[in-house]
Structures are given as C-alpha cells and as structure tokens.
Symmetry: C2
Subunit: 188 residues, 2 copies
C-alpha cells in the first residue's frame, strides 16, 4: 500500500474498511449516530444503483448541469466508481417517508487521492455536495459532509479539502473547515 | 465507460491514450513540442520509478513535508498510482545535463475524477506542482502545467481545477486558469 507511515490515533468511531458487496449496492458504512440535528427519519447511507429511481440525478441537477442518464449509462458510471472501492464514496440522505421518486434529499462525495508527499499520504476531496431546495435548513448537508470527513479520517487521510463559493465559507466552517487558498479553473 | 456523452472536438495535439508499459515506467506521452520558452534541453515526461534516484522526493519536499521513502516504499506508492493508468499522471521535468541525483527540476500531477454530473463527466485535478528553487524563472513549471492541462483535455475532462495561494493567481493565469472559488480544508 502507498500509506506506509504510522497513522495518528483516530479518536472518531472507526468505520469499517469495506468493499462493495454487490454490483448494485456500494458497501454501507457503520450505523449512523442518532440524528440529533434533525430529529427526523432521514438516513445517511452510501449510494445504491436503485437511487437513480429515487431522484438522485434531479437532485444533482440543482448543483450543476446533470443531463439524465439511461439506466445502462447510470449503471456504467456506477460500476466505474464502485471499482474504486473505498477510495470513492458517494453518500445520500434518504427520506423513506417521501414519494418514491423523490427520496434522495442530499448527497455528497469523497474521493481519496494518494500522494508521494507525506510519506505516501492520502488526501480526501469532498465534491458535489447538494441539498434539495425543499429540504434545506434541516442539517442534512452538514450530516453528509461530517460523515464524509469521518470516513476520510478513518481512511488515514491527513486532510480533507473542498472548493466552494465564498458565500459557503460559514457553512463549511460548521464542519470544521477553514479557508486555505483559492480555487482556479480552466473550462474547455 | 462513465463518459457516455459526445465530447467536444479537441483542437490540441492528441496525446495517445496509453497504459503503463512496465512496472518500472509509466507510459510516456507523445513527443513534446519544441521548448520555445526555455530553449534548454529539459524534457517533460512521465514519472519513472528510477526518478527516486534523480531527486524527485527532495524536490517534492520543497512543496510540503515529504519524508524519504525506502526503495520498496517508493515502489509500492508508484505501483498504487500506476494502477490508475491514465487517470493519474505525474509529469517531471528532467535536465539530462544535471548531476544524476538532481535531474528532476519540476513536477506536477493530474488525476481525473469521474462524476455523475455532466452526463458522466470528468474533471482534472492538478496537484503538487513544484519547481526546484535553483531552476525557477525558466518556465519549467508552466511547461509542466500546460502539458497536464492538454492531457486533461485529451482525456475528455470538461474542466481542470487546482488550489493555490492567492500569490500564485497570476502564475496560473498564464496557463489559462481563472479564479473560481475558495479552497477550504480540515487537517487531522
């Protein structure tokens, strides 16, 4: 493995290092602590292939351009990402009480980058965090992001980074993030 | 594959989609255009496992904490990254005229992230760009970064992003980057 150096002790509940248990469901993380922030029945879990039918893509389209994917296109994308195992984790917040096609209320993604720096260190990248417009203010996004940060820590990352608009600085500060630099981009 | 949508035409020289040709050398990219910026003999190429002996880690240590890796630790890290194929590219600038243990004068890395957004789109992430303190001002970092951007475009990425300090905005603007947001981080 690339991470050959001794890890710092982890003081958060250990999440199991898991692999996808099937081609239709990414491995679930350990049971979540009580939803103290929301008090509702929404569960945070890893993305399942069936989430295409539960509103996952329409939710993403609230963040950026997200054309619909056919069932087979979705499956291919899911398989590509599942092949990365625990180096790529997509979490969703599901409300089992909502209409079947609108159950996914929030999502966020973590991928783990390996480096030569830091003794073969790992960095977690948080991407594509969004909360359904009708479900904001319930702390769902924060639950997703905090869980992603826990997973990154459990995986041995020495830091987790994300890019956002300046308006979201205070939001991510609630999850322990501090401003570090500027994000630059080239669009093709 | 995750990228199921039609790509925009690419107007840059096409770089071959290549796979590592052995366990000791990552696939080389196509021959580089003439080094018009530097006029020197420095070559930009993919990282080779032998670059551990050419000063690759001491160079990285000018960017961030980079403890030495034993030969086997380095090989393990190299293999982990090589397994990602063209989704992870480390370029180096090598000066064949320099002392053997100090030939790597610049490096930069690109990894390709796959998304459900943008029809199963790809984003290039540029990381760990550094130029040896004694070799700055020769345009080596810009050559590395521009090549990484070309590779990302050739791979079908719809954008390339990186994080940097505010002082480096003008530097990356020379490679076509514009400021997009803020970088936030949690350190463990």
């Amino acid at each position: 493995s690339c991470s050959t150096r001794k890890k710092k002790a982890c003081h958060l509940p250990k999440l199991p290092a898991s692999v996808p248990s099937s081609r239709t469901q990414m491995a679930s993380t350990s049971p979540e602590p009580a939803a103290t922030e929301t008090g509702d029945s929404v569960k945070i879990r890893r993305l399942q292939i069936a989430d295409r039918e539960r509103g996952f893509l329409p939710l993403l389209s609230q963040l950026s351009s997200c054309p619909d994917l056919t069932e087979s296109e979705f499956a291919a994308c899911f398989a590509d990402l599942a092949a990365l195992g625990d180096d790529h984790v997509i979490l969703v917040a599901e409300d089992p009480a909502a209409a079947p096609e609108r159950r996914i209320l929030s999502t966020g993604c973590l991928f783990v980058e390996r480096k030569f720096l830091r003794g073969g260190g790992k960095v977690g990248h948080v991407e594509d965090v969004v909360v359904d417009a009708a479900a904001r203010g319930r702390g769902l996004g924060l639950r997703v992001v905090r869980r992603l940060v826990e997973i990154a820590k459990g995986a041995g990352c020495y830091k987790v980074i994300l890019d956002c608009t300046p308006e979201l600085r205070a939001y991510y500060a609630k999850c322990g993030f501090v401003e570090k630099g500027v994000q630059m981009a080239v669009y093709f």
